[in-house]
């Protein structure tokens, strides 16, 4: 069977989650590899969530928020952008393939963009293969 990557999505309630809903309402088709956590704002995302997602076995993490300047909370995603940028650098320097972590600004009206990104990300992750860098092996968690 083909490798089906598991993507953890974290989407802000107002833009990306709504945009993803719109993709559904307009019956766009995209791969079913994303499992999304809804948060109120991309600024809610603690960088540890991303690390944890990879530890839990996510092959990719997709963070979606409002376009900078369009944050429902005004400035939330401007802070988020810095947080996520640093997260990306941390992951990269730790040795995680940075292609596995994507941050996208997807507005409530960009259902098609959401679908396209999921499609593209899934394809990229398939090419990368399973993420075994941070993944915790389920049954071998002991330490000498």
């Amino acid at each position: 069977m083909d490798f089906e990557p598991k993507i953890l999505g974290i989407a802000c309630n107002w833009c990306t989650y709504t945009g993803a809903d719109l993709a559904g309402t307009t019956r766009l088709k995209y791969p079913q590899n994303v499992r999304t956590v809804r948060v109120m704002c991309s600024s809610r995302i603690n960088p540890s969530f991303i690390i944890r997602a990879f530890q839990l076995g996510a092959d990719g993490v997709l963070v979606g928020g409002c376009h900078p300047g369009d944050c429902h909370y005004g400035t939330g995603n401007l802070y988020a952008r810095r947080k996520l940028a640093i997260t990306k650098k941390i992951l990269e320097f730790a040795g995680m393939d940075q292609k596995r972590f994507r941050v996208e600004w997807i507005s409530a009206s960009e259902g098609n963009k959401y679908a396209e990104i999921v499609e593209e990300f899934t394809r990229d992750l398939k090419a990368l293969g399973p993420q075994n860098t941070f993944r915790i092996e389920k049954d071998s968690r002991e330490r000498i």
């Binding site: 915790i136 389920k138 049954d139 968690r141 002991e142 330490r143 000498i144």
Partner: protein, 363 residues
């Protein structure tokens, strides 16, 4: 002093049945291989700047050219983490299985006298007071400790003070086999029956001569060997001093002012045994683990209600010193510090427990 109280290991061999062997240092590898065959072997290994005890996989890793390890070998009996129960959380409830206690016979090679002594001190805690810790006991019973005299030629580390707690540079107490270096050779003598039977079963060893024996006996003489820092203390006197000084908050605050509250000293310590127990689960599978904890941490005594009996660093440091030099004396009859100097050497801010004990002793 610890030595005067005698050890719990009562099976000291009698003089006439002494098992005494030797091996040249070049053949250390053969000895290591032979020991490894008997079961897991723990021995000093150099990794970067540090030498530490490790479970030996490659014979060549073992080094006997070291002063002392950064970490004590206590982890052989008391690993930093161990699973007590493994479980799976299911719809019907947890499926749990206690982790079997079954250590295979093993050997620790190259334990310095102060560390060997520490095992006996820990025995008093883990095997004493009416409740036996099965994990400690099982590993202890199955392990042979090969002690290793400090090099009489090498100056002691300035942090060491094992003389203060009655341990000398070639103290055999706590070892099952004791090892002394003579030029290019290692002399090994059985101290306990357990040690003797180990030595008897090691074909790689040569018989030692009477000269060797004389050298050995001379080396392990209490007044011989290098001298560390020393201050005159007795168990009961220092215990009483600490009880007396307990309320003198200002003195304690001043002595511990630079402590930053990390747990390094307790983790490197051969006689620190505090642990935590916690359930750790991932995807419904988990284990109840016990693992080292440190009395220097804020949350060590923090109650769920938010109350903390020792909220401040000086209180925690005082607890550490009192525990080792007072409570342990009252409860188990000996100081639980072997003067190995590890805590002092590892301290990020160079706090020295000896200086504190010395100060209290002279109050």
């Amino acid at each position: 002093m610890i030595g005067s109280k005698g050890s719990l290991n009562a099976d000291h061999c009698e003089k006439e049945k002494v098992v005494f062997k030797k091996i040249t240092l070049e053949k250390l590898g053969d000895l290591v291989s032979a020991l490894k065959e008997k079961g897991p072997l723990y021995a000093p290994v150099r990794d970067g700047k540090a030498v530490n005890f490790q479970k030996i996989t490659k014979t060549a890793d073992v080094t006997l050219d070291f002063y002392n390890t950064v970490f004590s070998p206590k982890f052989v009996f008391f690993p930093q983490t161990e699973d007590l129960i493994r479980y799976t959380l299911q719809k019907e409830g947890a499926q749990a299985e206690p982790v079997p206690i079954a250590a295979s016979p093993s050997v620790i090679l190259g334990v310095r006298p102060c560390d060997a002594k520490s095992f006996e001190i820990m025995d008093r805690h883990f095997l004493g007071a009416g409740i036996i810790d099965p994990y400690w006991k099982n590993r202890r019973d199955n392990t042979v400790v090969i002690g290793y005299a400090f090099d009489p030629a090498a100056p002691p580390d300035p942090a060491d003070f094992y003389n203060t707690v009655g341990i000398h540079a070639a103290d055999t107490e706590g070892s099952d086999v004791f090892m002394v270096r003579k030029d290019g050779e290692l002399l090994l003598k059985g101290i306990t029956k357990k040690g003797e039977s180990l030595l008897k079963g090691l074909a790689v060893l040569d018989a030692a001569s009477a000269q060797d024996e004389a050298f050995f006996d001379e080396t392990i003489r209490k007044d011989r060997g290098v001298k560390t820092r020393f201050t005159e203390i007795t168990d009961t006197a220092i215990a009483a001093k600490l009880v007396g000084s307990f309320e003198k908050q200002e003195i304690w605050e001043e002595m511990t002012a630079s402590c930053i509250g990390c747990g390094t000293c307790t983790f490197v310590c051969p006689t620190c045994y505090c642990f935590d127990i916690n359930d750790e689960t991932l995807f419904r599978k988990g284990a109840r683990k016990r693992f080292w904890d440190a009395c220097m941490f804020t949350d060590f005594t923090l109650e769920a209600s938010g109350h903390n009996p020792r909220p401040r660093i000086f209180q925690r440091y005082r607890q550490k010193v009192c525990h080792k030099y007072s409570y342990h004396v009252t409860k188990y009859g000996c100081i639980s510090c072997v003067g190995c100097g590890r805590c002092t050497r590892s301290c990020p801010v160079n706090i020295d427990i000896f200086s504190i004990v010395e100060k209290v002793a002279n109050l």
